[in-house]
């Protein structure tokens, strides 16, 4: 293809356009530095995100908010005239509960679909299913939120007799649908990474395909599958618009699946616009952002370490 042609191009000095090529070659040290800087930019941006969110949270972190109360109080009364209270326990519980529910739905579905696509399909069907999963991942979160709000809410009221349609269950289902694609695709990669010789050995011993899956592939790919689940968890924790529209945004500890809840992300999205810029409420919202950043950082780090475990094992 182009390798032969371009090789000719570079060696043919009489062709027009040679001047800028010479410039490009001469500038190699400069260009290499630019490339290096771009390469390091990811680290820079992660630090920048931490720094700027931290900077805006400083007034609350040092002087405004009692950290113990912040994490242990369920009273979120940020715009009280008498005594504003910033306790995020209810929001944390909301985030955790909706994520847990979403995972309870998404993990069996996602891993099941990953196994089906990887081990029980072949040819066209496999390709089509992979494309469909990829397209599922592309649907914007605001559309999922809209679906939960307009379509799923009334269905939940009709089916369960719940008092209100926007609740934990609604958010959990929507988040599950949103995080399934990532679980499927990472899980499928993990199964694909198991060498075929494992499968062939099991097959030659008379194992059925199902036995191969749960006796051989699950143990062999367990780290990859765990990473898939963790990435799904990360996605679910960080999701904003969908939970804002689907969970009802009520500051309380949920007692059942049908209670409305409030999450960390949704609180920021719904209250930042109305809080006075530079004020304490504003700063506390950035502090919540910092908490979210640290949580997702930890989850991603865990996923990374788990994947690294896979590589070391295979070595």
């Amino acid at each position: 293809m182009s390798n032969a042609r371009t090789a000719v191009k570079t060696s043919n000095t009489r062709r027009p356009g040679v001047a800028w090529r010479v410039v490009l070659d001469r500038a190699e040290p400069l260009i290499e530095w630019i490339i290096r800087l771009c390469g390091w930019s990811a680290i820079f941006f992660v630090f920048a995100i931490f720094f700027f969110v931290f900077w805006e949270a400083v007034p609350a972190l040092f002087g405004g908010v009692n950290l113990i109360e912040f994490f242990t109080s369920t009273r979120w009364q940020p715009s009280s005239e008498v005594r504003p209270e910033y306790g995020i326990l209810a929001l944390l519980v909301g985030t955790v509960s909706v994520t847990a529910l979403a995972m309870a739905i998404a993990v069996p579905l996602g891993l099941g679909a990953a196994v089906f696509i990887s081990e029980f399909c072949s040819g066209k069907l496999k390709e089509i299913l992979k494309i469909v999963i990829e397209l599922l991942a592309a649907i914007p979160s605001i559309v999922w939120g809209f679906v939960g709000y307009m379509v799923l809410g009334p269905i939940i009221i009709w089916a369960t007799g719940a008092a209100v349609g926007v609740n934990l269950l609604n958010g959990g289902i929507i988040l599950a649908l949103m995080s399934v694609p990532i679980i499927v695709s990472v899980g499928e990669d993990a199964l694909k990474a198991v060498p075929d010789s494992y499968r062939e050995a099991a097959l030659s011993l008379g194992a059925s395909r199902w036995e191969i899956v749960y006796r051989v592939l699950f143990p062999a790919a367990k780290n990859g599958l765990l990473a898939a689940v963790l990435l799904g968890v990360g996605r679910a924790i960080g999701e904003t618009m969908a939970v804002l529209m689907c969970t009802g945004h009520a500051v309380q500890i949920p007692h059942g699946l049908l209670d409305p809840i409030c999450t960390l992300t949704a609180t920021i999205a719904s209250e930042l616009g109305e809080s006075v810029s530079g004020g304490m409420h504003y700063s506390v919202l950035f502090m919540i952002g910092l908490v979210l950043f640290l949580i997702t950082f930890a989850v991603n780090l865990a996923a990374d370490l788990v994947v690294k475990g896979v590589r070391n094992e295979q070595r």
């Binding site: 009364q77 940020p78 008092a163 349609g165 945004h249 009520a250 409030c262 109305e274 006075v276």
Partner: protein, 293 residues
Amino acid sequence: MSLRFNLILFCLLLAVLACGCDRSRENSVAIRNEGSDTMVNIAQAWAEQYNQKHEDVSVQVLGGGSGVGIASLIDGNCDMANTSRKMKPDEMKIVREKRGDEPKEFIVGYDALAIYVHKRNPLESISMEELADLYGEEGKLTKWFELGVPVGTLGTDKIIRINRQSGSGTYFYFRKAVLGKGKDMKLGSIGANGSKDAVSLVSRTPAAIGYSGMGYATDDVKILKVSRRRGEPGVAPTVANARSGAYPITRPLRIYTIGEPAGPVKEYIDWILSPEGQEIVLQLGYVPMESNE
């Protein structure tokens, strides 16, 4: 907005046909108007109507919330801030410090906050005391039968309170009007993300009660009459009742400027207060000012 790069030309710039050009029209005036989401509908309507009469004046309307509008006014990003609440004393102080001038307030209409319930709900009226009992932090009211709604009509007996997100102008006003100064709302109510959201949540939730501007009413919800005290006859949120003060939860819609407005901004505000501008207020389901004629 003096220098605006045309973005389409910006694309061409990427194709090495660079061109930035100044697009500010010399003989036209732009008024920037920012603030309350409650008022953004009406402000847009004013802007559209005014532009048809005065081609040379374009009014740009932006929402974002009362607080956003005031912040923007202080920073000089807009000429007029729409608010559904009164400017806070510390905000006034910042205005004086930063701009060296007094903020000037215009009341341009009224908004009656209606209490909405699902259309299947047999309740007809509610008192301010009951509302305070329902929404207030110390309030005990949580069941529909306590309000006289027979058990079983709404699927569940629990009252689903629909609130607005903490910090919005409507939230502040409702809290002050219903609970009184210095009181807090009960936690655990659903926080709607906008005036329309509150009404449409009520329309899809039989056991819900919520509040929002009376202009947001739809066929799927019922508006309750409101009385000041338990047992007194309720008053419906109508233009006449809101104007006379008989309806208890009526708030003025305000526009703030820095100092006494002059030139096009003054003409625009005068037009808003004229019968023609007030007619639009009425059309959109808000309450116009008492006409002087």
